[in-house]
C-alpha cells in the first residue's frame, strides 16, 4: 500500500499548488544548457521540425505582445530591466498558458521569441534553453510547465537531470528562454536566493546561454532541486494542517506545530474512546427504532438493498417484543426532538466533509427529507407503541 506520491493519491488534492507563482524553472533549459553550449545542432526531436531559419510566427496576439516586450530588452539590460517584466509576468504567463495549451503553439512561441530576440545563431531551435543574448523576456512563459513544472517550483533549475525526467518539459523548452530570463528575474525579485543574484549576473556575460538556475554551492543539481520541491510541498501541507488544528495559527515553527498536531490527534483519539465508552453505557437506551428507520429510509431512498430492509423489519419486531422500554419519547410530538439531533449528527459530518472536497451537497438535503419521512412514518406506525412506552417508561432507562 505504498501511496503514490504527489498527486497520485486521491482525486482532489487539498494542496493547491501556487498558481500565482511565476514559473521560473525551465529545467529542460538548464539540463540542456551544458550540452548545448556551442552546439548549434539541436538535440531535440521536435526541433528538427523547425526550419533553420526563422519561421513565420503564428499571429497570436500574445506573441506579438511578448515579442514587443522582448525586443525592448537588450542583451545587457540590467536585471532592473527585468523588473518591469515582473509586472507583466502574470499577463504573459496567461498568454503563454493559453498559447501553449494550443498544441503546437509551443513551437511557435519559441520561434517567435527567437525571431524577436534574434541573437545567436544557435537560437534556432536548439536554443530553447539558451536565452538568446540574455534577453530577459519575461517568460513566465513557463506556462507550459504548468502541469509538471508547477509541481516543482524550481526557482533555480539546476543544470542537469532535473528536466530529463519530465517529458512535458520538452514542450517547455521554447519557454526555456523566457523562463531562464524569468528565473533571473525571479531571482532578482529576491524570492529566496539573494545570493544567487551574483550568479545570475554572471550568467549574462556568459553569452548566449543562460544557466540561470545554476546555484552556487550546490552539490548535485537534481538533488537540491528535488529537495526544494519537497520542502515546498511539506510547508504547504504544514500550512494546511495549521488551519485544521484549532489554535495553531499563532504557533510558528515546524517543531512546535508538529507537537501541536500530535497532541491534537491524540486528544481526538482519546475523545473517540471516551465517547464510545459513554455510548456503550447509553446504548441500551437507544432508540433502535429511529436508527433502523433512518437507515432503512435513507437506504431506500438510494435504492437500498433488500437485506437492509429485512434488517430493519427485524428491528421492528425486536422492538415490539422486548422487555426494554422503547425509547420513543412519550407522546408523538416528542418524536421530533431526536430528529433534530440526528439530523445535526448526520449533517455535521457531512458539512465537515464539504470543505475538504465537496462530495454530496445534495446529500444533506436528502438526509433531511428522509428524516422527515422517517418521522412521519414513525407517527404512523408507532401509536401502539407509544402507549406501551408511556406505561413502561419508568426511571429504568439505563439498564445495562
Amino acid at each position: 500500500m505504498v501511496p503514490v506520491s504527489g498527486a497520485g493519491t486521491g482525486t482532489a488534492s487539498p494542496f493547491p499548488l501556487w498558481p500565482g507563482m511565476p514559473n521560473l524553472s525551465n529545467p529542460i533549459a538548464e539540463s540542456f544548457n551544458p550540452g548545448m553550449l556551442n552546439q548549434s545542432s539541436n538535440k531535440f526531436p521536435y526541433s528538427s521540425v523547425l526550419p533553420p531559419g526563422l519561421p513565420n510566427f503564428p499571429s497570436e496576439p500574445g506573441f506579438i505582445e511578448r515579442a514587443a516586450r522582448l525586443s525592448c530588452f537588450s542583451a545587457n539590460a540590467g536585471f532592473n530591466g527585468l523588473m518591469n517584466n515582473s509586472i507583466s509576468n502574470q499577463a504573459q504567463k496567461g498568454e503563454l498558458n493559453s498559447m501553449n495549451i494550443g498544441s503546437g503553439s509551443s513551437h511557435g512561441n519559441q520561434l517567435k521569441n527567437q525571431g524577436s530576440i534574434d541573437n545567436n545563431s544557435e537560437t534556432n531551435e536548439g536554443a530553447e534553453d539558451k536565452i538568446s543574448n540574455g534577453d530577459n523576456a519575461n517568460a513566465n512563459g513557463d506556462s507550459s510547465q504548468n502541469d509538471s513544472g508547477s509541481k516543482k517550483r524550481k526557482r533555480k533549475n539546476q543544470d542537469g537531470a532535473m528536466g530529463q525526467g519530465q517529458a512535458s518539459m520538452k514542450s517547455q523548452e521554447e519557454a526555456g528562454k523566457q523562463t531562464s530570463e524569468s528565473k533571473k528575474e525571479v531571482d532578482n525579485n529576491g524570492s529566496k536566493n539573494t545570493g544567487k543574484n551574483g550568479k545570475d549576473a554572471a550568467d549574462v556575460p556568459k553569452g548566449d546561454y543562460i544557466h540561470v538556475r545554476a546555484r552556487r554551492g550546490q552539490a548535485t543539481n537534481s538533488h537540491s532541486l528535488a529537495e526544494r520541491v519537497r520542502r515546498e510541498k511539506i510547508s504547504e501541507r504544514m500550512k494546511y494542517l495549521q488551519e485544521l488544528v484549532p489554535g495553531c495559527s499563532k504557533v510558528t515553527g515546524k517543531a512546535v506545530m508538529l507537537d501541536e498536531i500530535i497532541n491534537y490527534v491524540q486528544s481526538l483519539q482519546r475523545q473517540v474512546e471516551f465517547l464510545s465508552m459513554k455510548l456503550a453505557a447509553v446504548n441500551p437506551r437507544l432508540d433502535l427504532n429511529i436508527e433502523t428507520l433512518l437507515s432503512k429510509d435513507i437506504l431506500q431512498g438510494r435504492g437500498a438493498c433488500s437485506s437492509t430492509v429485512g434488517f430493519t423489519h427485524e428491528m421492528f419486531h425486536s422492538q415490539l417484543l422486548p422487555s426494554q422500554p422503547g425509547l420513543l419519547p412519550p407522546g408523538l410530538p416528542g418524536m421530533l426532538n431526536p430528529s433534530d439531533p440526528f439530523r445535526r449528527a448526520i449533517n455535521t459530518p457531512l458539512s465537515a466533509m464539504n470543505p475538504f472536497k465537496d462530495p454530496n451537497p445534495q446529500m444533506s438535503t436528502t438526509w433531511q427529507d428522509e428524516l422527515h419521512n422517517v418521522m412521519s412514518m414513525n407517527f404512523a406506525t408507532n401509536p401502539p407503541l407509544s402507549t406501551q412506552e408511556i406505561a413502561t417508561k419508568p426511571s429504568d432507562g439505563f439498564q445495562l
Partner: protein
C-alpha cells in the same frame, strides 16, 4: 456515509442479544467508529483508511478464542522509515496515524490532515448521538 455506517453499526451492537460486558461494548463501539471513519466516501482511497481497516480486521480475527492475542506481528522497524531531515516528532506522528510507517514525510502530513478531518467528524457525530440519546 460515515454517519450512516456508524449508525448501522451502533444498531447492530445494541441489538446484540447477549448483553456483553461494558468493556466489550466499548470495544465494539470503538471498532465501529473507526470502521465507519475508514468507510467514509472521502477517505476510502486514503492510505490510512486502508491501513486502519486492515488493522481492525486483524484485531477481529485475533480476538476470538485466544487468551493471549498477538498484539503485533513482526513489522518493519522504525529506522527504515525515519529520514534524516524529518523533525524529531515525526516518528510519533507515524505511530498515531494508521499506516504511517511506510509513508514519506510529505505524504504523512497529507494523510494526517485527512485523518484529522475524519476524526473530528466522527467525534462530532458521536457527541451528537450521545446528546440525542441521553436527552
Amino acid at each position: 456515509m460515515q454517519a450512516l455506517h456508524f449508525l448501522q453499526a451502533l444498531a447492530r451492537i445494541a441489538r446484540a442479544a447477549p448483553k456483553p460486558a461494558h468493556s466489550a461494548r466499548t470495544r465494539q463501539i470503538r471498532h465501529a467508529a473507526y470502521a465507519s471513519m475508514a468507510h467514509s466516501s472521502r477517505s476510502s482511497r486514503r492510505t490510512w483508511s486502508r491501513a486502519l481497516l486492515h488493522r481492525l480486521r486483524q484485531r477481529q480475527q485475533q480476538r476470538p478464542g485466544r487468551l493471549l492475542t498477538v498484539r503485533r506481528r513482526v513489522r518493519i522497524v522504525t529506522p527504515i522509515t525515519s529520514r534524516p531531515e524529518e523533525p524529531a516528532r515525526a516518528e510519533t506522528l507515524r505511530q498515531l496515524v494508521p499506516g504511517g510507517r511506510g509513508m514519506e514525510y510529505c505524504n504523512l502530513l497529507e494523510e494526517t490532515a485527512d485523518y484529522v478531518q475524519c476524526l473530528r467528524a466522527q467525534v462530532q457525530l458521536m457527541q451528537t448521538l450521545l446528546d440525542a440519546f441521553s436527552s
